[in-house]
Amino acid sequence: MTRQGKTNCKMVHLTINNAPVDVAEGTTILNAARQVGIRIPTLCHVERLKPVGACRICVVELDGVQNLAAACSMPVSEGLCVRTHSQRVREARRLVVELLLSEHDGQCQTCERREDCELQALSAELGVREVSYEGERTRRRLDSSTPALFRDSGKCIKCRRCVSVCSELQHVGALAAQGRGFETTIGPAFNRDLSSVACVQCGQCAAVCPVGAITERDQVDELWAAIDDPSKHVIVQTAPAIRAALGECFGYEPGTLVTGKMVAALRRLGVDAVFDTNFAADLTIMEEGSELLARLKRQLLDNQPGPLPLLTSCSPGWILYMEHFHADFLPHLSSCKSPQQMFGAVAKSYYAQQQGLRPEQVFVASIMPCTAKKYECQRPEMTSSGSQDVDVVLTTRELGKMIRAAGVEFHELPDESMDDPLGRSSGAADIFATTGGVCEAALRTVHEIVTGQPLPAENLHLTAVSGLSGIKEAALTIQGALPAWSFLEGVTVQVAVAHGLDNARQVLEQVRRGEKSYHFIEVMTCPGGCIGGAGQPRFTDDRVRQARMAAIYREDEGKSVRKSHENTAIQQLYQDFLGEPLGPRAHELLHTRYAPRDTLGKSESG
């Protein structure tokens, strides 16, 4: 925003800590300071969201102004003279932190966030050695009502970051401040459990929480128990986004690819096979690509509603959001299960059969960048194999903890390869990790099915829909359609890509109002797509998203096979087991249904 502003807006000249600074009018003091390499601490600000000014940590001293000002919400003005770390400022910040600590029921030695707690880090930075205030502590109320998230109100410092992301970024509004004064709690309406309201379990609240008040549900012990159970054949699938982020748990720079070490580490934990969700991502493209073509045919050739646009269905937070808030669009959602669930269904049928195992002997664990996947695997529909297709879901962070608990020196691990056959994948599957990736992967295959020619894009990249803009569009005119697809000759396929649910909502509303018309819309719940998922190592900002995204494209470009339909393991699966895409067996194992839900969640009175 500010970069763009530089060309159009008036520039403002100010001084920060005696250094002259020029920034665009409207820039906040916090962002102006960042541009010159000064980090003003804050516990409530979230990049790109409206400042809340709740925590008062970012206060700075302004020449000629009596009171300290909140840098996150105060815009710069001409000639302003700012001191960001003067003694008065440091003392004010320390006072705020001491007051927060005096209420905070932190349980710090055993807290989930004991290694990356922002309150503790700030306390250290400010040199707080004792808390001079005594008094009542925040009341502790635990909420473990959802499969994905765990809330502990005693640790909450009421910064409201979770409220900002839930309402502004996701347009869900499950969380808000309840009550008043010391009794204020941040949570669902009337302090009810999260499971009783329209929460989509995306976990972005947990991703931005500075303390341990909202975290993912820790399921590490469930995987350990399965590994220790001799009657279980434990297999692991790793989502595309893990390999570009897991390294951060071990001190690697964001954007370091650790695919080989990740596989080696999982083997050291004692699992029976290491497989790839990417395999199932390729399978998803086969099914979803065929579904798109079937709907195009129905609409363009048979003059019946496709219905189009086809909406992607990989992101479980998005699915819940649709069910709660946009039920009129449910027929547009692809009936494809997500790659995680396709993997589970195939693992407990095809793979179990190959291994001579009964489905219930196979234990499927997923490593996901996501909290909503913990919920998704428990949906009652996800039992095509006869029992729960995916048994347990761990986040990237939980895998990091497990590897450390096993005493594995991650840096020293060799690079190892995934097992066959469910570990084989194409580059198209890799880019499922990033916004725009599913769309690009689908078009790589669909275009080739229709024309016999590769996607006419440099290096197969649909650059118009990559990157961090919230809503992206592309158009692709079909030329040289094969006879079977002649109705598509000359048709311009319109696609849109959105990440973050509020962006998705805007796209849907434009379609609803008839202002826009698309054939295909990709939606990912989290900003940046899965690389920015709520289960990824903290703290994810745009710089980190860019680095992980670049890594994902490198992984794709490094593959010899870069189109899903060219994955030989997928071809074999259809030949030996599934039959045709969208065929009866594929339908039974790989597709699902959706049902409308109340926009407000359940009513208290039934």
Binding site: S167, Q178, G187, P188, F190, V197, L600, G601
Partner: protein
Amino acid sequence: MGTADPGSLCQQSTFEELLGQLDDVLLDYAKVPGALIPVLQIAQTLFGYLPEEALRRISRALDKPYSEVAGVVGFYSFFTTVPRGRVMVRVCLGTACYVRGGKEVLAGLKNLLGVEVGETTPDRAFSLDVGRCFGACGLAPVIMIDDDVHQGVRPAQLSRLLEPYRQGAAADGSARRDQDS
């Protein structure tokens, strides 16, 4: 929610009818910025309190998250989500009343009515609340029963003080039930 809500202060309408009246109000306010608080006030006037179903309708009609609607209701002590009794009993806990036995009076009322502060008796006769000075410090400790101020109250007198109101509340209640059925 039941069909006829006995907590309603409006004796002419059933709960369903009141919801219909609320829906009419919401039509007028749907696109008005800053409508939440006025609408909550109107709803509380209609129902005598803010029942869950009314809040859900308000949330939907104004396109406000339910969590935000609940947050506003919880922030202002004016709003209540529990039906109020036909008679309101308020105990002053301002400094003067507090030191002269207001706390004991409150304890006595809790005991007598069998409810906590902010609650209503199961027969919907009495609601109990506290205040932070009624401006009658010279008469401390005071309580207010509806609009009547009672001075120099002793816990032992409470039962006798409430008696006339108890009869009135019961009479109101039977009249209400007749009209509802």
